[in-house]
């Protein structure tokens, strides 16, 4: 097992280097730069010397290979430098948002798991009954409805319903407070994006649980288990569900990694100051340093999540572990 883990860790290194090279050069293909945007952005007269000074201060006028070497050294020493837009350390900027994104991802995963696994299992066990149809409708609707649209509807619904009921429109807070500072404020803000993203997430996982469980339920060993007189609860929970979890774990892992950096639109809808919003802002601002750091962070999250999923596979299915 330790040999397996070591091999997987080694494999991460070329993946990260490849992603680094790609993001560095792709960012520089976008026309314009942060200095031009900052000075020309309001249509004022701009002295070219001012723009040149800005470029020189940020080091983006240096040869490309020097900049690339700086970036890679920074990456491997965990020193990403300062944001080109705000001038603040990149690790500080990311750290501020990471906590929020992590909490939303955990809450959405929790929402998804508590909905998806029971519903998917019920749907498979009660295949082709009204219950199955109801769950499938719920799941297909979840896949079809974009999270950001659901988010907008949630906010509008809250405003309208609270105004109708109490006379005073209410919406979730738009400024973040950590859960240990103000738990009520924190939950009141984050529960809604967790529901909006968790619904889509749960829909995907429900579909996956259902189809995986249906496949397992048709296996010979399930027939054997029933034939030897095991009660249905044991057959489902111990023999069927555990074996059906492999693809579900994969989906949950990938969705979790996606939530850490991919909630670009939902974060905007709920005004969450998370990694996704920072991502979009840094691309818009041509903040190369920040964008590169964020891409590397997301790549790292995906690589580590995949690694953990692989370890879960080995735990769930001993055949993988022993091979």
């Amino acid at each position: 097992m330790s040999k397996y883990i070591f091999k997987r860790v080694l494999l991460m290194i070329p993946t990260l280097i490849g992603a680094g090279v790609l993001v560095f050069f792709l960012m520089r293909l976008i026309p314009g730069d942060v200095c031009e945007l900052r000075f020309a952005g309001t249509g004022l007269y701009v002295d070219q010397a001012q723009i040149d000074t800005c470029r020189s201060n940020l080091g983006i006028d240096r040869p490309m290979f020097v900049q690339f070497a700086d970036f890679m050294i920074g990456f491997f020493t965990f020193n990403f430098g300062d944001s080109m837009w705000t001038g603040k350390p990149i690790l500080f900027e990311i750290g501020l948002r990471f906590e929020l994104s992590l909490q939303v991802a955990i809450m959405a995963t929790f929402v998804a798991v508590i909905i998806a696994i029971p519903l998917g299992a019920i749907s498979a066990i009660k295949q082709d009954t009204w219950l199955d149809y109801a769950v499938r409708t719920f799941a297909i609707a979840g896949i079809a409805i974009p999270s950001f649209w659901l988010g907008i509807m949630i906010i509008l619904g809250l405003l309208i319903v609270t105004q109708q009921v109490t006379g005073i429109p209410w919406m979730p807070p738009i400024d973040y407070k950590p859960i240990w500072v103000d738990p009520a404020h924190n939950i009141a803000q984050l529960i809604w994006p967790a529901v909006a993203t968790g619904y889509r997430y749960s829909a995907v996982a429900t579909r996956m649980t259902r189809s995986a469980l249906l496949e397992v339920l048709r296996e010979d060993y399930i027939r054997t288990a029933r034939a030897k007189g095991l009660i249905e609860k044991v057959v489902i929970n111990r023999h069927a569900l555990k074996n059906a979890m492999l693809p579900v774990v994969t989906i949950i892992g990938i969705e979790f990694a996606f939530l850490m950096g991919g909630l670009v639109v939902t974060e905007q809808v709920f005004n969450l100051n998370g990694i996704g919003k920072l991502f979009i802002e840094s691309v818009q601002n041509h903040d190369y340093a920040m964008t590169e750091a964020l891409v590397m962070l997301v790549v790292l999250i995906f690589v580590v999540t995949n690694f953990i999923i692989d370890l879960c596979y080995a735990w769930l299915d001993p055949r993988i572990r022993y091979s």
Partner: protein
Amino acid sequence: MLNKIGKLALASVVGLGLTAGAGAAKAETPKSGGILNFVVGSKIPSYDGHQETTFGMIHPIRPFYSLLIRVNPNNPSDPTDFECDLCEGDVPTATENGTKFTFKIRKGVTFHDGTPLTSADIKATMDKIVFPGEGVPSARKAFFRSVDTITTPDAHTIVFKLKFPTAAFIPALATPFNFVYSKKDLDAHGMSWHKANVNGTGPFKFVQHQPGAFVEGIKNQNYHFKGKPYLDGFKAIAAPKMAVRLSAIRGDRAAIEFRGFPPKARDDLVKSLGDEITVQESDWNCVLLATPNQKRKPFDNAKVRNALTLGIDRWGGSKYLSQIAIVKTVGGVMFPNHPLAATKDELMKLKGYNTDIEASRAEAKKLLADAGHSNLKVDFSNRGVDQPYKVVGTWLVDQWRKVGIETAQRVQPSGPFYDSLRKKADFDVSIDFNCQSVINPIADMTKFLGSAGNNYGRFEDPELEAIYSKIEKEGDATKLRQLVRQYETRSLSDETSGMVTLWWYKINPHRSYVKGWKIAPSHYLAQHLDHIWLDK
């Protein structure tokens, strides 16, 4: 000359701010206390006002600083009404044939760190803006081309000596980005320190900034305007999406947004909240332009450019676009309603401003035929921002279609758009804009000069430059007005080196409990918040 223009302006200006709610309100006694929550739709690049250009910095950071002089917050619509902020008494008038301004500095003012303010601080600040050293960015250095020397005869006097008299100096001085810094900070920490640190003499003290989230300020008990600020503090919440800002006001998570909303948003808020919303509206010192690239054929031909402007129905556009976008007023090179701005009769003499649009379009078709371009195709570059760029851009495409011009609109994000506009010049016509803070007509109209650093038409027009030279030095208000008309006719009509589409229109719906704030013709002005109070 400044006096003459000032008198002309004072005599002619009739309340620009069309205040729907607040205007009708009777004078009320301000109440102290409360925290003002407001939303800001843009980001803070750094805290240094001298190098930044965005309202994303002004709205949350301006309350920490003072200026030497400022636009009167009780009358911000008047382009000639300035008052002393850190200076004493009235804003001084020029002496020595309009070339010398002497300011007396307030005594007893302290920076938030306790350092007393002297004229040396003002001089250090203005030196950084006017004469920045190598490697020191100053976004408004060009505003002060007239300044020759800045001296401090004593600790509470500062003197600006100009190279030539100009009416542009006082408005430039009142620009809200000219934060007064402490000389001690500049000497000890260098010219970049204020990018990430705050130490001003403003009505509020800096508490914290969570990047991307909010900025908090708390009342400065030692503020130099006694009894102010009325608020205990403020929280500027970053909210890039307009829908969030709108919902925030509706759900009372924020009381106000200072930049402005489109008409539909105003109507939605009023419909849902009734009297709890007050709406203030004003012409806006921003204009959307369409600039032909004269380095590309056939846009080097004045007939083709004339046809482009003749095809635009500005009066009709004003009527319909003002219902869906933040544009409204038909105007020329000057801020509408300014004493030097063209009247409707004067505008109608310009190509493209005739109310008989069919006649204009017939002339446009004839000019295109004469130039041999009856089937003209235009590569039109636009910025990927909804309000008002994409709305107006799409409208222009339709306007030009009506004279037989086929337009391909290229909408790009801000970065590639500016790259195209400033460097690549790979467009036939591009959207451009002129968005200023203090109304400073003589300075603002430089945008239309071929030599201007922010004109992207790529042309030379010595005649227009000559007219502008006369404008800069003209002291007589009547003659000045005539010269401005000549400039306008040359630029917009005869040569059509630029096309003014419509001037922006500012709409600020806010919670009715926000009192004391009066709409200004710019989203950069009157943002120090010392005059705002909450009637809760």
